[in-house]
């Protein structure tokens, strides 16, 4: 720690930080634009000028840019110095010369960093009397809107997009007053992280396009802390609501996980909660017709069904653990299914088992950023867990930082540090069957078939530690690859192994676990990460249950009276005939879901569940982090959270006493008590009775407008604000709100004078560090397990002559379930195309998966071996998800023409 003096006040500054960070951490309001806590300093905007004095006798001092000056011991600076103040005021005035002053029609208005800084510096009168330069805007696709005239040329957008996220298609053009940030030509931004531009841009150049259609000012919206539902990473988000509709998703800072950025699937995938695909009333099939029925009648029906034999429940990785546990408790552990068919069921179960017991550290995203060697084994992380790939990409920056240390440069001095490492590749080794988006930035990208990757993994583990299971009959090439990769991992201090369930291969997971375990035996601080299929797969797999195949068997044996499917679409797991057989062989199919899925369409009784924006619950991410999401919408009956439906079903069918939960707190406590592994989930967030300073925390800003007027078309009577027993947040603007409220309850970021997302600085103990309100989420796994080596290397994968090995090609946009009910993601998804190995040009293929034949557009991919094809899961055959052998007939380009 260094002591520095800000306007005569002695404050502690961290070693190696800059004066801007030190000032902000000391609570001083120092304006800035180009500096970003995650992107460092470039000194481009000249806004954070302060006066620095040589010593106590120096009365004149000199103006320095706080962001470019290290906070050294004894530094004396003045923020309030009249000259420094005038300087900052003039910088804003000059930045504003070309700004259109269109705040009333600008979507950034009210949460604009430029507005805040302009007010902060006191600039209010325009002296510049010449024409403003104007730009033409571009169409940047369905996610981001472009309005270049508002630009103040801080360069944050390209620094995020290109340097931080590795994007190629956003650039900066021209010079001087004409500087232009955009694409070479209009077109969709290619990066999976383009939505972050909305938050990174300090003004309204890049704004949220889907939000624009349902726009509301920041101060008019309710906020609530939430957890992303679109992959297993578990990014923290803030949902904004007005008039009963979710309007947008923002990043919520979690020091260990997503920090400042989200992927576009997370930011734009939540539209499903407002989509027409939502189920809004209970329905019962009468005379072959689905008929809306009142809740009481639905429950009566269920009671009647329950008399017809055993009830089997199917849970889901997209439902909270409370809902899953409720279902399991109601039907009994022996009658509860995870909702995954084999081989996925086995793979997820194995993956979670590994994560819970591995001797390596299951690392949070932020920890992986500082790895010095990453081995990605058979998982297209950029598609299955995009935010993880962004974290892994930061290993390149870590390598740059090491060079910076050698050259005694502080890490925040962005431009020189980046230049030092400009010829560095990220220390990532990708081994996958098909090209991935990570290949470009990786040190090397190797291609092999899933089983061969597993063999390679086993061989690497064996090279690192002879006690690990060996692989017989390795080819020379395999040996060379294994040796090289083992050596790369062994010279690293902090190697990280990344794999996942994409290829549903337990051998692959075992291989990854063995490498990590072998590295631990060599004294390495090794990390392991396994990507899981859904947001709460970890929770469901920990609870455990039958595979879907086992449920099908039981059903065919006539042992299932009623099948209760909760928040799952079985048609994504079972092919058409298997699903049909299952539905026909159970006496009753009951579906609890928030959307009308093909499974719900076959249900005899269907009840509407809340989406994650309308209820509270706990999800467990792939690193075993239990995180609570809270409701932002107060839904109208009959919508209720799945566990309440299960409870009502239990009561209706005479199972009183099994499930007597009234509130989320009771549900959480019962789940924690019922599943020993989940004992800590009660700590994931404060209970509903939580009060700070004697009051609940409010979820609306104090200046929210239209409380009565908003429903004046219905009635002018004042109605009380909605309440819910499940959330500690108060639904209206009355209540407390401080920067040190519990981190898991932060409904929005705003402090006086700081209305943009930049106000986050005020919520952190130190910039980029822990939140004042403490931890976000709790880990339900211990620091380190004791598991040894497991599994055996599979035989080499032999390609077949008459069949093609079809591998799942996941996509960031398109293969997700709920995100594809969201219009922006649907617009971003491209057509399903089969990629066929080999050099011969292909136009279409006719492909037989199971009993069904699909005629699909196709292209050939010379990077794939002959006899292999890639197919996006769920986009061609609805249920297709795991590698399988298929017959495939190609229609060449010439024949198609």
């Amino acid at each position: 720690m260094a002591t520095i003096y800000i306007d005569g006040r002695a404050v502690e500054a961290r070693n190696g930080e800059n004066l801007l960070q030190a000032c902000l951490e000391a609570g001083t309001d120092l304006p800035y634009f180009c500096w970003h806590p995650e992107l460092g300093s470039v000194g481009a905007c000249r806004q954070c000028a302060v006066k620095q004095f040589q010593n106590a006798d120096d009365k004149r001092g000199r103006i320095v840019m706080a962001c470019m000056t290290p906070a050294t011991e004894g530094a004396i600076i003045s923020v309030d110095d009249p000259e420094a103040k005038e300087f900052r005021g003039e910088v804003v005035e000059w930045l504003m010369t070309n700004h259109p002053h269109d705040c009333p029609v600008c979507e950034e208005g009210g949460e604009c960093h430029l507005q805040d800084m302009t007010v902060m510096t006191g600039h209010r009168e325009r002296r510049f009397k010449f024409d403003k330069r104007t730009h033409k805007n571009q169409d940047l696709g369905p996610l981001v809107k472009h309005e270049m005239n508002r630009c103040i040329a801080c360069y944050r957008c390209v620094r995020f997009y290109r340097d931080y996220a590795g994007g190629e298609d956003l650039g900066v053009f021209a010079q001087h007053n004409n500087v232009y940030f955009g694409r070479y030509e209009s077109g969709t931004l290619e990066s999976t992280f383009s939505g972050n531009l909305v938050e990174v841009c300090p003004t309204g150049v890049f704004t949220d396009k889907p939000f624009s259609k349902v726009y509301s000012r920041k101060w008019d919206m309710r906020g609530a802390p939430s957890v992303c539902q679109h992959c297993s990473v578990g990014c923290n988000t803030i949902l904004n609501e007005r008039a009963g509709k979710v309007r947008r998703t923002l990043n919520r800072y979690n020091e260990d996980v997503n920090r400042y950025f989200l992927c576009d699937r997370g930011r734009y995938g939540n539209g499903f909660v407002n989509a027409p695909s939502r189920l809004r009333s209970a329905g019962y099939v009468m005379d072959g017709q689905m008929t809306p029925v009142p809740v009481a009648q639905a429950l009566e029906q269920f009671a009647a069904f329950a008399k017809d034999g055993p009830i089997v429940g199917i849970g889901s990785g997209r439902a909270s653990i409370e809902s899953n546990y409720a279902l399991r408790r109601f039907v009994g552990a022996d009658n509860f299914s995870t909702g995954w068919a084999e081989p996925l069921h086995g793979a997820v179960t194995r993956a979670v088992d590994i994560l819970r017991t591995t001797s390596a550290r299951v690392m949070p995203l932020h920890e992986m950023e500082s790895a010095d060697c990453v081995l990605v084994l058979g998982e297209d992380v950029a598609a299955t867990a995009p935010r993880l790939s962004l974290a892994l990409f930061q290993t390149r920056r870590t390598a740059c930082n090491k060079l910076a240390d050698k050259n005694r440069l502080p890490h925040w001095l962005d431009a020189p540090v980046r230049t030092l490492g400009s010829d560095l590749k990220a220390p990532i080794h990708v081994v996958t069957p098909a090209p991935t988006d990570m290949d470009v930035s990786a040190t090397q990208a190797l291609r092999a078939l899933p089983d061969d990757i597993a063999r390679l993994g086993f061989a690497i583990a064996n090279r690192i530690d002879g006690a690990a299971p060996a692989v017989s009959d390795l080819t020379e090439e395999e040996t060379a690859r294994a040796t090289a990769l083992a050596d790369a991992l062994l010279v690293a201090e902090k190697p990280v192994i990344v794999s996942g369930t994409q290829y549903a291969s337990t051998a692959l997971l075992d291989a990854a676990a063995n490498i990590a375990a072998a590295l631990v035996t060599q004294g390495k601080a090794a990390g392991l990460t396994l990507v899981l299929p859904e947001a709460n797969s970890f929770g469901v797999a920990t609870m455990g249950g039958l595979s879907l195949d086992a449920v099908c068997e039981r059903a065919q044996a006539g042992q299932v009276g009623t099948l209760v499917v909760m928040e799952a679409d079985l048609t994504r797991q079972l092919d058409a005939s298997a699903f049909d057989t299952l539905v026909r062989s159970v006496r009753h199919l009951v579906v609890i879901d928030h959307s009308v899925t093909p499974t719900a369409e076959r249900g005899e009784l269907v009840v509407p569940a809340t989406a994650f924006s309308e209820c509270g619950g706990t999800m467990i991410s792939m690193e075993g982090r239990a995180q609570r999401f809270l409701q932002v919408v107060y839904p109208e009956a009959p919508l209720q959270v799945s566990w309440r439906w299960v409870r009502d079903f239990a009561h209706a069918s005479g199972h009183e006493g099994v499930l007597d939960w009234e509130t989320l707190d009771q549900a959480v406590a019962a789940t924690a008590a019922g599943v020993p592994a989940f004992a800590r989930i009660v700590e994931a967030a404060p209970k509903a009775d939580y009060e700070l300073e004697g009051e609940h925390i409010r979820s609306q800003t104090h200046r929210v407008s239209g409380r009565t007027a908003i429903r004046a078309n219905i009635s002018v009577r004042d109605i009380p604000p909605p309440t819910s027993p499940d959330t500690p947040l108060k639904s209206d603007m009355e209540g407390t709100y401080t920067t040190d409220m519990p981190a898991t309850l932060i409904p929005f970021y705003q402090v006086p004078g700081w209305n943009s997302v930049q106000s986050l600085n005020k919520f952190q103990q130190e910039i980029g560090g822990e939140l004042r309100g403490g931890d976000v989420g709790v880990r339900v796994i211990g620091e380190r397990g004791t598991a040894g080596y497991a599994g055996v290397a599979p035989a080499r994968m032999a390609l077949r002559e008459n069949e093609v090995l079809l591998l799942p090609e996941y996509r960031a946009f398109g293969t997700g379930e709920t995100s594809m009910w969201s219009d922006p993601i649907k617009a971003r998804a491209t057509e399903a195309v089969i990629r066929v190995g080999g050099d011969a040009p292909v136009a279409r293929v006719s492909i037989q998966i199971g009993a069904e034949v699909f005629d699909v557009p196709a292209v050939n991919d010379p990077a794939l071996p002959l006899g292999v094809a890639l197919c996006p899961p769920h986009m061609v055959a609805r249920s297709y998800e795991a590698p399988c052998w298929v017959t495939l007939r190609t229609i060449s380009a010439e024949a198609a023409a």
């Binding site: 190629e168 650039g171 053009f173 070479y184 010829d423």
Partner: protein, 161 residues
């Protein structure tokens, strides 16, 4: 203007790329030699250079548009660049500009109909001791008086006819 860059230039560009630490380091020089041959950098050529050097279009066009001596639009056979910085303004560049515009029948930034001349403003040419300064192709003029313009223009017109 050919669709693709001549093979000898491609070879030179690749050679430069090999000799740089990173291939993209050769991009300015590559654009300069392409412009020397064809007069300006068209979209097709820009794409080709980008591909040769492994750069994205946004990246290379950012470089191209940054430099005011790299032309992304067609220019005349002679490019006249008139300094618009402060020394030249003090010394009467306004009169020279008026005369030039009248003589050529174009406004600043335009090319004459016969394609002989393009008139562009430029920042300081470092010729302040001879202000007002003007650059035509690679020849520097200064101090330029309005009455010198006719002679200078005609001389260049003859040279390129």
């Amino acid at each position: 203007m050919p669709d693709v860059i001549d093979a000898d230039l491609v070879e030179t560009i690749l050679d430069m790329a090999h000799h740089d630490v990173l291939p993209r380091g050769a991009c300015i020089e590559a654009m300069k030699i392409v412009q020397d041959r064809y007069g300006w950098i068209c979209d097709r050529h820009l794409k080709q250079i980008a591909d040769l050097l492994g750069m994205s279009l946004a990246d290379i066009d950012g470089v191209a548009t940054y430099y005011n001596l790299i032309f992304r639009q067609p220019v005349g056979e002679n490019v006249i660049m008139l300094c618009d910085s402060v020394s030249c303004w003090v010394m009467g560049t306004d009169g020279v500009r008026e005369k030039l515009c009248r003589k050529l029948g174009v406004k600043m930034g335009q090319t004459t109909e016969d394609g002989k001349f393009t008139l562009l403003p430029i920042v300081c040419l470092g010729h302040c001791d001879h202000a007002p300064a003007m650059l035509i192709n690679k020849e520097i003029y200064g101090p330029v008086r309005p009455e010198d313009i006719d002679g200078i223009i005609e001389a260049h017109r003859e040279k390129t006819s």
